[in-house]
Symmetry: C2
């Protein structure tokens, strides 16, 4: 066994803290001997929760942080003002080399701002994108950027494509991942000003497998592995995925309950259906990495349960062993450096 991968977990963030992050941390260390978890939050609260479980005591340590950043708080002033919050304390641990990664389901804004100002960007990276995996018919695709940088420029999107490609290959294990840009048509001349400016930059990058435009209707089919878009569009895609899915499942359920005949059928169908629909549930993939930082920062859903925390923690192993930050640094130095000099 090599060196332990040290993950700081925000024990105070999200709708179900501290119960679910603590449970997820325990499950992660019990499942994988290569993981060490720092549970960051109010000591007494976290210890009380942790005392319910059996786990290797030498691989979970509670780190006290007296403050909590709430979801509604303006991110910049929260990060500046609450120096002893679980988010700021955890990020400082990455900065000082005490932790390799940070997993939080707390305020997205605070995690994004903290990632940039405390953990810091890899040299040459203009904007760090948030990149969740979304379920498709064939498995999962990386949606990048998904809320970190609205009104991004073409050079930013070109870097997103490169970083997403490295992540998908090294962490998720997709060989030569297909990279596509979200567009409103398949032809090269289609699109808005941003897409038209980005398209040739992606085409010119010989280190990525750029396959051209992808229309939104083809995203769920899994025709691309890395789906590049500006953050506003990415956020709409992520949330609509969730919304249409929830509404359709509700429709299917109410349809099954509408007649006596269908109610009997529903009982027979239910177990098989549950298994299939689970493959279309994004929580199985863990959280979304914020790429291009000097350490790994993973944002999980606000409503994350233990499974998502566990998967997010385990994901940090591939990230560290794959040397993602180092590879992003090399790639950016090789390819996108000229953009910096403009």
């Amino acid at each position: 066994m090599g060196e332990l991968v040290k993950v700081a977990v925000d024990a105070m963030g999200g709708d179900f803290a501290p119960v679910e992050p603590v449970k997820g941390a325990v499950e992660a260390v019990n499942e994988n001997q290569g993981i060490f978890v720092y549970l960051v939050g109010k000591e007494d609260v976290v210890n009380a929760e942790l005392s319910k479980y059996t786990y290797p005591k030498d691989r979970i340590q509670v780190v006290h942080a007296s403050q909590v950043i709430e979801t509604g708080e303006p991110p910049v002033s929260a990060i500046r003002g609450k120096k002893d919050s679980s988010i700021v304390v955890s990020m400082n641990m990455i900065r000082h080399g005490e932790a390799d990664a940070f997993v939080s389901s707390g305020s997205t804004g605070a995690v994004l701002v903290g990632g940039q100002v405390i953990v810091g960007r890899v040299k040459g990276v203009e904007r760090p994108p948030l990149a969740p995996l979304i379920p498709t018919e064939k498995g999962a695709s990386l949606l990048i950027d998904c809320g970190a940088n609205v009104d991004a420029r073409a050079s930013h999107l070109a870097q997103f494509a490169a970083m997403g490609s490295i992540y998908m290959e090294q962490v998720i294990g997709v060989k030569n991942p297909r990279v596509a840009i979200v567009n409103i048509g398949m032809e090269e001349e289609k699109g808005n000003a941003l897409v038209k400016e980005t398209f040739p930059l992606l085409k010119a990058n010989k280190n990525i497998n750029f396959i051209g435009s992808i229309e939104a209707r083809d995203i769920p089919k899994g025709t691309a592995d890395v789906i590049v878009c500006e953050a506003f569009v990415g956020n709409v895609i992520l949330k609509l995925y969730e919304g249409v899915g929830a509404t359709l499942i509700k429709k299917v359920k109410s349809g099954m309950m509408s007649t006596m005949r269908s109610k009997i059928g529903a009982l027979l169908v239910k177990p098989a259906l549950k298994t299939t629909l689970k493959s279309f549930d994004s929580s199985q993939y863990g959280g979304a990495p914020l790429l291009g930082l000097k350490g790994l920062v993973v944002k999980t859903h606000g409503s994350s349960k233990a499974l998502e925390f566990k998967n997010s923690i385990l994901q940090c192993i591939q990230f560290k062993n794959g040397q993602i930050s180092e590879k992003i640094k090399e790639h950016i130095a090789d390819n996108v450096a000229p953009a910096e000099e403009r």
Copy 2:
């Protein structure tokens, strides 16, 4: 019975022309005595198709157009070059007052360009948006703009909101429709530059019932009746709706077929499920109007069947009787005129 509503139908446009547009036209005149249809296209082809049906001969007339604009053709040169195409001939009929409306499932680009340059905009309207109805849990919402104007400005979006509101109230019959802008958070300070600039314009318009931002995840819940967004985002929403829906239905079907037990259940569930899922099928609503023109132009899906043509044709009655173009003209003159003077 009042005056007949005269609808020109593109008999050559779409994947299933001339079969489906001709069938839809016949069904429309058979169902509603207030409709008169001009079937525009190659005379011999259309007549051959039409001869298969029984219908009131005095309410369908074939109008010859020797050319067809293909989907792949660059729209501007197609409209300029093919003066005797079904699209150009039909639009000239609106321009000259011979038809009230035009229904086409041909090239979207050509329909948009033709609408602007041949039918012409209502005075004061800066950009005519394409506004399809999308299914929700509660019925349907109008998504505006959905592909006509990428890189739109805030003043355009403000007009879309007003036009969409008039259409939803007068044609679809929703009293005091709730208008929302697509955003990546609910707070007023969230959003990209365009949304931040548009928000106060919508808030200031006392003639619409503006309820603020809507996140993409809430669109399928039907929490707003008129959903305002820029065309690139609208196009992504429309197509992702379709894509996620198709993939999930496929998953449900394969889940049902995965075990012997579930196969039996599927037989019992199927009829009830079919009825429920039909309520989430957008083709029942007919096509998308291109608003803000001097006459009505309706774009239906390229893959439209007779039902969608029929519904699109019947929709023209409310549009004409509701005097939508006149109401848009009045509203624009009242409210958005200052934007013109900038």
